[in-house]
Structures are given as C-alpha cells and as structure tokens.
C-alpha cells in the first residue's frame, strides 16, 4: 500500500469510531462530538490526497478549510437545538426523545 492508502485506512477508522459514537451513544453532547470526529476524519483524508497525489494538489487543502468552517457552524446549530430541547425536557439523553413513533 502506498502512503495515501494508509492515511485513508486511518481516516476510515476514525470515521467509523465517530459513526459508532453517533449511533450508539445516548448523550447528545457526545453525539455531537462524534459528528465532529467524523468530519475531521474526512479532513485527514482530504489533506492526505492533496499532499500525496501530485495531480490533485491544491483543491484538497482548500476543501479542508471550508469543512472546518462548516463544522463550526454545524456544532453551533446543533448545540442550540440541544439546549432548546433541554429547556423543554430537562434531559440530554437521546432515548428520552421518543414521542413520535410508527
């Protein structure tokens, strides 16, 4: 395997840890942290491609800057939604939110 592939394996591992956190953890704050981990795993993959694939130089690092900004906006909105919900129900446990089913 060449360098890019090793970085992609690492990124995929981090991504899966994040995905596991989103799917399995109940605390909403930790869910948001796991979402951030997923985005950062992608950032790692993007920089690796930009660095090691000669034809692909440039755009990947640019992409990462945008992803970092968007991740910040996303976590802002997410925490605001969690706080609004906390005021209604006094809990940040995901499994307490089950009013709608079917």
């Amino acid at each position: 395997m060449n360098a890019v592939e090793w970085y992609f394996v690492l990124a995929a591992l981090l991504f899966c840890i994040g995905a596991y956190g989103v799917l399995a953890r109940r605390n909403l704050i930790i869910v948001v942290m796991s979402l951030e981990l997923m985005l950062n795993a992608v950032n790692l993959a993007l920089v690796a491609v930009a660095n090691f694939v000669p034809a692909a130089a440039g755009r990947g690092t640019l992409f990462v800057l945008f992803v970092i900004t968007i991740a910040a906006a996303e976590v802002t909105v997410g925490l605001a939604i969690i706080i609004a919900n906390y005021r209604n129900r006094r809990t940040v446990q995901a499994d307490e939110y089950h009013d709608m089913k079917g």
Partner: protein
C-alpha cells in the same frame, strides 16, 4: 487589477446574482425585523415575498438573455469563481422553482405564525437562507461549492423544523433531523473525499475526465458511490435512510414541513442530478445499480408504510418518501442511457410534485387554522365534503394528483418518468413503480373517502365536533373577507350541530385541551381570533390547484422548459 481580471470578477458576480439577491434579502429581513413593531410585523412577509419575486425576475431575465452554447459541465463562459458555480438554464429553472416554492411557503406561513403569536422575522430570514443554499446547490459545479451549498441549505432547515421551540414535538423533530442530517453530511463528505482521491480533482468537469482513467480500483469507486448515495438518500429520505423523515415531518410546523418536502427534495435532486450528469457519468456502471436498489426499496417501503397511518401529516411524510423513489428512476434512466431524457423527466416531476404537495400540506395548514382542535387525524375529515365543499374538492384534486390520475400534474410527472425508465431498457423498474402507484391510490383515496362517504359525528365530542362549524365559518369568512364577523353570526346553514358547537366554541371550558398532552403547543387550540384572515393560505391553495390543473391539461410547456434546461447539463 487588470481588465481581464475585472471582467472575470464581473462575470462571477453575474453568475451568482440570484444568490446575492436572496442572501441580501435574508439580511434585510433580519434588519427590518429590528425596526418593526408588533403591529407592523406583517410587513416582513411582504418583504420576503418581494425578495423572492425579484430573485425570480432576475432569473427570468438571465434565462431570456442566456447566450451560452457550450457544454456547461464547468467550462462555460457563464462559469464563475474558478469553475465553482455555473448559472445555466438548469440552474435558472431551479431558481424559479425554489422561488415559487418559497413564495407559497411565505403565503402558508404568515397566517399560521400569526395565529400562534410566533415571531416572524427569523422565520423569513431562515427561509431565504435555505433558498440561497438551494440555489447554490443547483448551480454548484465543484465538490467544494456543492458541499458548502448543501450545508447552507441544511443548517437553517434544522432550525426551521424546531421553530416552535416550546413545542416538545417540534424540538424532537429538529433534534432528529439535525443528528440524521449532520451524520449524512459527514458520510457524503467521505464519499467526496474518495471521489477526489479517485479522480484527482474536485471540479465536476475534471472529475469526469479523471474517472476515464481512475487512479484507484473499481472497489474504491464502489465504496465512494455507496457513501455518496447514502448521503443523497438521507437528504431525499430514501429507504433505508428515511428514519428521520416521518418524525421531522410530523413534528415540524406544517408550513415548514411543506417546504421541507418540496424545496429540500427538489434542491437535493437538482444538485445530485448535476453531479451525476456532469461529473460521474463515466462511472455509471458503478452507481446505477446502487440507485436501482435504493429506488425499488424506497418505492415499496414508502408506500407500504403509508398504508396504516392515521395521522395525515405522517401519511404524507411516507408518501413523500415514496415519491423520492419514483424520482430516482429519472437518474437511473440518465445513467443507463447517458442522454438527458431522464433528467428532464425529473425536472417535470419536481415541478408537478411541488404544486401538488404544497397543495396537500397547505390543506392541512388551512384546516388547522380554521379548526382550533385539528390534530391531523383521518377521523377528523369525516363529513368534511359536506361542511366545507370547496376545500374538500381542493384536497381531492391534490390527492388525485399525488396518485397520478389524469388530467392532473401528477399523471404527467409519472408518465414522463416511467417512460424514461422504459426507454432506458429497465421495464421492470417501471412495472414496480406502476404497481406501487396503485398501492398508493389506496391511502390517497382513503382520505377522499373519509371526506365524502364517512358520516360526520353528531355527538358533541370536545376537541372534535367544534372543529366542523369553525371550518365552515372560516370558508365563509374567506369568501367575505372578515373572520370575526362571521364567527359571531349564528350560522344556521352549516349542519345540524352548528348551534350547539358555536356555544361550545365560545365556552372557555370547551376550549381546554384534554389533559393528554398539555405541553404540545402545536396540538393546543389556537386563538381563532388571531387568524385575522386566512387569505394567504387560500391564495397558496389556489395557486397550487391552478398549477396542478394547468400542468395536467397542458404539460407541453413545462416539458419544453425542462428539456431546454437539461440540454447542456453534460453527458451525451
């Protein structure tokens, strides 16, 4: 700055002119909100509507003066910002569609928000920001601008879904939508990273060229496209990524649900249609089977799960999942044939779907505004055909259109989609789609059945029977332009239970919510006096009904426009 660079900047500005108008409008609404008092907040709706009208006018002007004759997969003279965005007829077509969907939502939203005494400034600002993101998505020709627009569209929608923030259901809807949406964005982004690694570029035209000689193997491409399809599937609520949709649709305020079901879906299809047509068409053998699986599963599961629903909002949520399945057929046809017939069928369907779904959800807004205890259940529709003949007729029209019965817009939408997929040699997919359309007739027409053939309950049940004369009163009020006057008049012609119910409606005790769910603001009776007039909702319904009938009777104009829009999209 030399002259050449200045021209390039001017071109770039012109490319994103509709986007600039909408974004500036969103900020203008926010600022105007600060200076308007409680009595003049209604002006904000007019301001938002004016912004959308200007945007659409700009788009019409650009369409008329459109000079392009080159392939628009990124290298046209109209491409701006280092090939990041392009404003071609495809983009302009969607600017007009998003503008129309936004205008209808403003019309629906105003009376709904006023009745709850909700703040209106942020609502319109967020709505305009979502539309800005949608326009960006339809015009993006680079993975970077695509992702930025995708998030600009998604983030305000999470907030809008929870707009009634004291309502726990709306909060739950917003939360589920956010977590699922952010999760899917990350998956999509990883797919983009893989695509970038394979093709060596993020620009659509360069991806297309790079995929002819991919740097990684077929397996990597498969992984990448599965991830992209998953992100796409989440956004359009395709099975098995649909889990959030019924909850988010049910819990969100109904005008927001309307917009989510038509606007977001149309924008996601616009963005991904361009991605599939202009960037990844060379790899069609890899992604078409993935979309086929998605389409079949979505059509079957969406329609079957809609069958047992008793809550109309939830039923329409499953129906909109099913419609996403039909729409995927157009992209499959594009992949199989490489020509743009399938793409134009998707555009036709999205326009038809916008009108009929705005109509269906708009009817829910209308009933909710006119009946203080309306809970969106099928049972409450009993006798609606007798107490409110015109609204019942409108709802019937929208249900027929959603089923796909001529002469409505829904029929032509399905006709072009299914014939596109037959032309692509995938007749079995068309057969599945037709069979599932027949299944969908069962739950759509059941709504009609309840309105006309189930007798209205004549026992006075708190929370249900008061609603019937109220709706009759509201219909009369719309006709006469003054709600309060009619509400106070003992209308003796609206059915036998009228007098008793009018008394009940005036009795404060009868207004009290049954103790089951006291916290749920969206379920609490609204103050009917705050619904000054329901003119906006009625106007939106009239436009939707006119659109459904117009396209149903004369689809050719729309088909021409759609074919013009996709001609230069890329591919064959």
């Amino acid at each position: 700055m030399d002259a050449q660079a200045a021209t390039a900047v001017n071109n770039s500005i012109e490319v994103i002119l509709p986007l600039i108008v909408v974004s500036a409008g969103a900020l203008a609404v926010l600022v105007a909100d600060l200076f308007l008092g409680p009595r003049t907040k209604g002006l904000l709706a007019w301001l938002a509507a004016a912004v959308l009208v200007v945007t659409m006018a700009v788009a019409v002007g650009q369409w008329v003066t459109f000079s392009g004759g080159l392939s628009f997969s990124g290298r046209a003279p109209e491409a701006g910002f280092a090939d990041m965005v392009v404003m071609d007829k495809f983009g302009l077509f969607f600017v007009l569609l998003f503008g129309a969907a936004g205008l209808l939502t403003v019309l629906l939203g105003d009376a709904y928000l006023a009745a709850r005494g909700a703040a209106r400034g942020e609502f319109y600002a967020l709505l305009l920001l979502v539309i800005a993101g949608m326009i960006g998505l339809a015009t993006a020709t680079d993975l970077i601008s695509f992702f930025v627009a995708f998030e600009l569209m998604s983030l305000p929608t999470y907030v809008l879904a929870g707009y009634a923030r004291r309502d726990p259901l709306a909060g739950e809807a917003s939360l589920k939508y956010f977590i699922n949406g952010a999760f899917s964005s990350a998956i999509l982004l990883f797919g983009f990273a893989v695509l970038y690694a394979i093709s060596g570029s993020t620009t659509f035209s360069a991806i297309s060229a790079g995929l002819e000689e991919p740097s990684l193997g077929q397996g990597a491409a498969m992984v990448g496209f599965v991830l992209i399809a998953a992100g796409f599937g989440f956004k359009i609520a395709a099975v098995p990524f649909h889990g959030w949709a019924p909850d988010a649709y049910q819990g969100a305020p109904t005008p927001v649900t309307t917009f989510m079901s038509v606007g977001i879906k149309a924008a996601a299809f616009a963005g991904f249609l361009r991605l599939f047509a202009a960037a990844v068409l060379p790899a069609w053998e890899v992604w078409t089977p993935i979309l086929m699986v998605l389409a079949v599963v979505t059509m079957i599961v969406g329609n079957v799960l809609a069958l047992p629903q008793r809550n109309i909002k939830r039923l329409l949520a499953y129906s909109s999942i099913a419609h996403a399945g039909y729409l995927l057929l157009g992209i499959i046809a594009l992949g199989e044939t490489g020509d743009q017939y399938g793409s134009s069928a998707v555009l036709v369907y999205l326009v038809a779907y916008t009108f009929m779904n705005v109509g269906a959800f708009g009817m829910l807004v209308f009933m909710r505004n006119s009946r203080p205890f309306f809970r969106y259940t099928l049972e409450e529709l009993r006798g609606y055909g007798r107490t409110a003949p015109l609204p019942a007729l409108a709802l019937t029209l929208f249900m027929l259109s959603l089923t796909g019965i001529p002469p409505t817009a829904g029929f032509w939408g399905k006709f072009y989609l299914f014939s596109a997929v037959v032309d692509a040699g995938q007749t079995w997919l068309a057969i599945v789609a037709v069979v599932m359309s027949a299944v969908s007739a069962f739950y759509y027409l059941r709504i009609v059945w309840y309105m006309y053939f189930e007798a209205a309950p004549d026992v006075l049940i708190p929370g249900e029977s008061t609603a019937l004369p109220a709706s009759a009163g509201a219909v009369a009020a719309v006709a006469q332009g003054d709600h309060r006057e009619v509400a106070e008049r003992p209308a003796g012609d609206a059915g036998s239970s009228t007098v008793m119910s009018t008394i009940a409606a005036d009795d404060p005790a009868a207004r009290a919510e049954p103790s089951a769910a006291p916290l749920h603001a969206d379920r609490q009776p609204i103050d009917a006096h705050l619904v000054e007039t329901d003119t906006g909702t009625v106007a939106a319904l009239l436009v939707a009904a006119a659109g459904v009938l117009f396209i149903g009777i004369w689809p050719q104009g729309l088909v021409w426009a759609a074919q013009g829009a996709v001609r230069l999209l890329g591919g064959g």
